[in-house]
């Protein structure tokens, strides 16, 4: 903005409208993102807890009833599952791409993420954080089946 004593008087309202619109958009973006994050993070009360452990280079899963699975995970459609994700060695990232599930697996720390499968089928599980030589093959399979 040019000050008045350099080029005479001129209106500055377009600048203020511009600034106002930018601030409004930033507020909208921040509020919307925060709200969705808040909604997505709230876990349903009846969610089954599944312990997920990442290690070079495989995923281990433990259900609430003690059942363990390595490299594959069997879940029921329509139920809620809360993953407690951790790692035994280096940082990994637990990812089920088809259900937008993504959470870092960090040694000494338990991170949580929940989801509810909405369709049956086989879906790939993968590591999304480079974790060493065989990172590319640190995969698993999610089997979603109809409940009994």
């Amino acid at each position: 903005m040019v000050s008045g004593n350099m080029s005479g008087h001129h209106s500055t309202w377009p600048e203020w409208v511009y600034v106002g619109v930018v601030i409004a958009l930033l507020c909208y973006v921040g509020a919307e993102a925060w709200n969705i994050e808040r909604i997505v993070e709230h876990v349903p009360a009846d969610a089954e807890i599944i312990k997920v452990v990442g290690q070079q280079w495989l995923w281990t899963f433990e259900h609430e009833d003690g059942t363990k699975e390595i490299g594959e995970l069997h879940l029921e459609k329509g139920k809620a599952y809360k993953f407690e994700v951790t790692s035994k060695d280096v940082v990994h990232s637990f990812n089920i791409h088809d259900f937008t599930v993504l959470m870092d697996a960090v040694p000494g720390r338990v991170n949580t993420v929940w989801f509810s499968p909405t369709e049956t089928g086989e879906f790939p599980i993968q590591c999304r954080e480079y974790c060493g030589l065989i990172h590319y093959n640190m995969r698993g399979t999610l089997y979603v089946e109809n409940g009994v």
């Binding site: 080029s7 930018v22 958009l25 909208y28 973006v29 919307e32 993102a33 925060w34 969705i36 994050e37 808040r38 909604i39 997505v40 993070e41 709230h42 876990v43 349903p44 009360a45 809620a80 259900f99 937008t100 599930v101 989801f115 509810s116 909405t118």
Partner: protein
């Protein structure tokens, strides 16, 4: 000096206040509802992309207009008073 103190206070308050708000308002222990993460997350993504592309269009359009309107060769161009008088 006052500016430095004010700036420092602002940064410190942001460092303290924002995490506090986050702590107070973030997901608590109360149970949530069943939802499809894909719908929520991709919906958010598309809404924010609308904002991003709208802003990008307005800003780049304004830059293009400015460059064309205020180029020297524009027939409507007028020299500034400095250029006209040769005084700086």
């Amino acid at each position: 000096m006052m500016k430095v103190i004010f700036g420092l206070a602002l940064v410190l308050s942001l460092l303290v206040i924002l995490p506090s708000i986050e702590y107070v308002l973030a997901a608590g222990d109360e149970p949530g509802e069943y939802l499809d993460r894909r719908v929520e997350i991709w919906g958010l993504f598309y809404r924010l992309m609308i904002v991003a592309f709208t802003v990008g269009t307005v800003v780049s359009g304004m830059i293009v207009w400015l460059v064309l309107r205020f180029r020297e060769s524009n027939p409507k161009a007028k020299p500034t008073e400095y250029e006209a008088d040769g005084k700086w």
